[in-house]
Amino acid sequence: MATAFTPYSYIQCPCSDITPTDRRSGGSPTTPEPDDDDRAFDPRAPRSSFSLYPLEYLMYCEDCHQIRCPRCVAEEIVTYYCPNCLFECPVCVGPLAVTSVETKPDPNLLAAPDNSAAPLAGPYALTCSYCLWTSTEVGIQFDKPNGIHAQLAKLRNGGTTRLTAKERKERRKDPSYKAQPPPPDSQDLDHEAQFANLKAFYQGQLADPNTADAGLALLGDLGFSSPTSLSRIMSIYTGGSLLHDKKAKTRLGAMREALDPDEGLLVASLDESAAISKLRSEGLDGTASTAQLVGQPPNMVEPPLHGNERFLDTLRPVPHLLRTKRSKRCPVCRHIISKPESKVQTTRFRIRLVAGSYIPSISIRQLALSSGTGSGTSASGPAVPGAPLEPLKPAHFLLTFKNPIFETIKVTLGAPATTPGRFASRVTVLCPEFEVDANTDVWDEALKNNAERDRELRRRRGESVSANSGGISSANQLEVGKIWERGRNWVSIVVEVVPASLALAPGNPPLREDEDVLEIPMFVRVEWEAEMAGDEVGAAPSRSNSEAREKRELAYWCVLGVGRIRQR
């Protein structure tokens, strides 16, 4: 990988911990037992991909004081909207425009944005301005420039018209049609028609007056029902006793089989020699790619295609999917935690409780050290960002925890001594326990006496006031138990890692994608005190101490990607 590595952090939503055994309870998270590795969170496990989120993806419930991820919110739809209201190109996914077939589509003209004016005369086609695909390539053109969806539903590729399900239904009711023999060409039975015919046939069978007593109502009871009849259903379904169950027998007796296309019976035609010849002559270029086929909605207008859908001339314009705007509720307390403006044009939210406003963010930066390792070494400036990590050579990373809330938080970190997986890098959190000051606003800050603040800072750092006052840089020592640097509402600490060697014994499978990335699983516990029964935490910084305070705690796993280990 030539590209520089950007450090990252992911958070595991606590909801992924479905097993009742709570890995949080008991034991100090700051010192995970070495033999406890199997219980420690392994970010490399395939399942981890499903529970890890960047902080920006997470929400927060103020009432439950819990992180909420996309998997553990209840969604409600605020608005449906259409991003485009037309069709996508089946070849390149570009938008399709209605153009006149007569005036040959001029690529320059199509690309021009002012070509949106309606084309002059019919017939019309859908044309892609990116790849120049046009619906005439699949034999589809339209009489009118509007109502394309309705016209398309009546057209097969190649231009033959079909009856929609509704038209078939009306024709079925028509006495003049009923007198005629059923259509001899069963191949006319496209998917939608076969489905509709079957449905009508079954409905007719079930509504037969001869079997009315054992008709629809009873069957309805069988299909979906209360648990009380569950065992009955089971015995019918699993007992192989359909034929011995009197009721079932009568019910089934009500149904005969479909006997002709009009009832939905469609005899297959197996001769595909024409399609094979076509494949032989057109080769790969005549076929659609897997991606193009995946983009196609189910084809309702053709009889079963059985492999013919591979040909480019069976592709159809793809109607745009509707989208939704959704509000999100906490599934436990039902409070709304996110609600967008219903107007489609705006991307604003009325309510949006993002987790980033409640839990500390973690940013990661590598430190370059002048010499040596361990305590006492001083910094010589930042390392080359994104450079590969040297195996077996200690590297130091600065983790900066920024506190978004208006209370001082106490942060406790726990990380396994070695990273899980095939390559065990050693990890040492130099300062696993520290406090981060509240996110008081700048105005508050300015009111404070600078000197007093200075003194307070030193006190918190555990430094004596008389110690050297030469400025913050002198505190930058790699010292166990000491923070690296502190700001208004942030604290930096140092993590030392000794990257593992990526050398593999012969016979071992090679590195998987991203297996060279050094990822540190880290358990984060955040504790703070907040006003009780505060309607809105964080609405204003608390000033009155008279109110009762309650202890709050949030704990979760996260994973820190610090760099790639150099491969040899």
Binding site: S48, F50, L52, P54, P70, I77, T79, Y81, G147, H149, A150, A153, Q194, L198, K199, F201, Y202, Q205, N210, L219, G220, L222, G223, F224, L230, I233, M234, Y237, T238, G239, S241, L242, L243, L252, R256, L259, D262, E263, L265, A268, L270, D271, E272, S273, A275, I276, L279, L284, V294, P297, M300, P303, P304, L305, H306, L322, R329, P509, P510, R512
Partner: protein, 566 residues
């Protein structure tokens, strides 16, 4: 755009038809592209969306999801490596990013990342299966179904050969994450029969993991036979064909590396170009030299360096020959779980009682991804009728027959006895019986075995009798003259398992196995059917009548339908 003109106008968006009007009354259509209906959602969202039943068809490589009553699913979610990524990982969209398939393949997952599960549950992370199902459904619900999180009843359409731990893992995940009040299970062969308008059928599922031939009689699965020949094997064979034509020198030690091309590329080429040759005695059009020598250019990007192969078109039928027919071997040389497809279908019919066979053979339904291989369905049917011509319905066959007939000591023990120890997961009971049929009468050799339903005297068909009596057959007035076809080979089309399930659910006709959420969470999670406690060896329970009986004989309050009990 405005589409209000015709009332029969199909809805302009493929996802909107049933959003508000689930019972198919959506004639009005959306009059404007933007529909703010937030007011109708102001009710507490804990209410069930009672009117909407979601139908989900599970396949090994995809999920199809939609609403009951619809003719087709709203959307299909395919499984792939991109679904295994963390949220916010957009590398698949980055310019120049290429999935590192080689390292994945070296780890043994060349094709695996494109599958939801493998039937050999010993190698499956069941929790991961649950996660994958959850993520796929979430995508489908948001992208194609446009539904909120209210609990909805579900109908699952599943292959009846699905091992219980996989089903259990999926149920665990969905009941926990989506809270459907009930999940009803419908076997896909049954749904296919409903979707074809028949009560009996021989369903030939040319699937991804395996090919399964299921005999349905009177809406009941009476027998199933499977062969490991399926889509996965076909793509492997395509890979081998392409690899054979790559320059060996550049690849270096070609033997040491198992896969030299990515699964994605091989799968793509398989579905686009691989075809099936006709049966030698039929339909061999005399081709001129030009068509014979037709070649196909295949650009390959996943090889060490991009290259273009030029293959004879005929070579592209090789993967199909090897994967499905293996004609260079004699038919007696195959194990039961690797039968060539025509033999599999033949034996499936052979094991059926005369009456059932006559009905099923005229209701053959091909389904599954490989039924899209051009020429394959006809080839199987031609091979099958060839076999029937050659052998009739005499089950005793092969070069060992004479020895067997003359020396009873050489007679192999019944299949059941042979495999009961090492491989109990295959072999439906029905095929274990060695029966034969003479003069149109079925003789059961194995009298000790419990009478399996498929060998019982065929009951008089109440429906046929009803029809014979002419006692009103419902809709058509002229239907009395029509009789159902039996005893001749005939292939019919089904609207598909998903659509069949949609019909069955919508019309409330089928008895399906319904699982209540509360019951599942109480017993499914802690009872014997908890995935981790399941003895994996007994997971591939047969579909034969014995298997079905076992389910009800367990005495429990409920089971998992044809998926058996544990």
């Amino acid at each position: 755009m405005s589409t209000s003109s015709t009332s029969s106008a199909p809805l302009p968006h493929r996802s909107v038809a049933n959003i508000r009007t689930p019972s198919g009354a959506g004639q009005s259509g959306p009059s404007t592209p933007l529909r703010n209906i937030s007011s109708s959602f102001s009710s507490p969202s804990s209410l069930r969306a009672d009117d909407e039943i979601i139908i989900i068809e599970f396949g090994t490589r995809k999920l199809q999801v939609g609403f009951s009553g619809d003719a087709a699913p709203r959307g299909t979610i395919w499984f792939g490596p991109d679904q295994l990524r963390r949220a916010g990982d957009f590398r698949d969209w980055q310019l120049g990013y290429r999935y590192d398939w080689r390292s994945a393949a070296a780890g043994g997952s060349w094709a695996r990342d494109y599958e939801l599960w493998r039937y050999d549950v010993r190698s499956v992370d069941l929790g991961l299966v649950g996660d994958k199902v959850e993520r796929a459904l979430r995508d489908a619900f948001t992208k194609y179904m446009l539904i909120d999180s209210r609990p909805r009843r579900m109908v699952w359409v599943l292959p009846s050969s699905l091992p219980i731990p996989l089903l259990s893992a999926a149920l665990d995940s969905v009941f926990t994450r989506f809270q459907p009040p009930t999940v009803s299970l419908l076997s896909s062969p049954l749904a296919l029969a409903v979707g074809a308008g028949v009560r009996s059928a021989l369903v030939v599922d040319l699937g991804w993991s395996e090919t399964v031939v299921t005999s349905i009689y009177e809406y009941r699965e009476v027998a199933a036979k499977r062969s490991i020949r399926g889509g996965r094997m076909l793509v492997e064979q395509t890979h081998n064909l392409l690899a054979k034509h790559l320059p060996q020198s550049a690849e270096g030690d070609a033997d040491s590396q198992e896969h030299v091309l990515s699964f994605e590329e091989c799968s793509d080429i398989t579905s686009r170009l691989v075809w099936c040759k006709p049966h030698p005695t039929t339909g061999q059009e005399e081709e001129d030299a030009a068509t014979r020598s037709a070649t196909v250019r295949i650009p390959l990007t996943s090889w060490l360096s991009p290259t273009t192969l030029e293959l004879p078109f005929d070579d592209l039928s090789e993967p199909c020959e090897t994967a499905f027919f293996d004609t260079q071997y004699t038919l007696t040389s195959f194990d039961d779980d690797e039968l060539p497809l025509h033999l599999l279908v033949y034996r499936s019919l052979l094991q059926l009682p005369l009456d059932v066979r006559a009905t099923c053979m005229s209701r053959i339904i091909f389904t599954g991804g490989c039924s899209a291989v051009l020429g394959l369905r006809k080839r199987i049917l031609d091979e099958l009728s060839h076999l029937i011509q050659q052998r009739g319905w005499d089950p005793v066959r092969g070069k060992a027959v004479e020895k067997l007939l003359t020396n009873p000591k050489l007679q192999r023990p019944p299949a059941a006895a042979r495999r009961s120890h090492n491989n109990p997961e295959t072999a439906p009971p029905a095929q274990e019986n060695v029966g034969e049929e003479r003069d149109g009468v079925w003789h059961d050799h194995d009298h000790s075995a419990a009478p399996a339903a498929s060998y019982m005297e065929p009951e008089p068909d109440p429906i046929e009798e009803q029809l014979k009596r002419g006692s009103g057959s419902g809709s058509g007035s002229g239907s009395d003259q029509r009789t159902s076809v039996r005893g001749e080979l005939r292939v019919i089309e089904s609207v598909g398992a998903w659509s069949g399930a949609s019909l069955a659910t919508h019309l409330k006709t089928m008895a399906v196995a319904t699982i209540d959420r509360e019951v599942w969470l109480q017993h499914g999670a802690t009872g014997a059917s908890k995935p981790s406690e399941v003895d994996h060896k007994v997971q591939r329970q047969s579909l034969g009548p014995g298997g079905l009986m076992r389910g009800s004989a367990a005495g429990g309050a409920w089971t998992l339908g044809v998926w058996g009990s544990v």
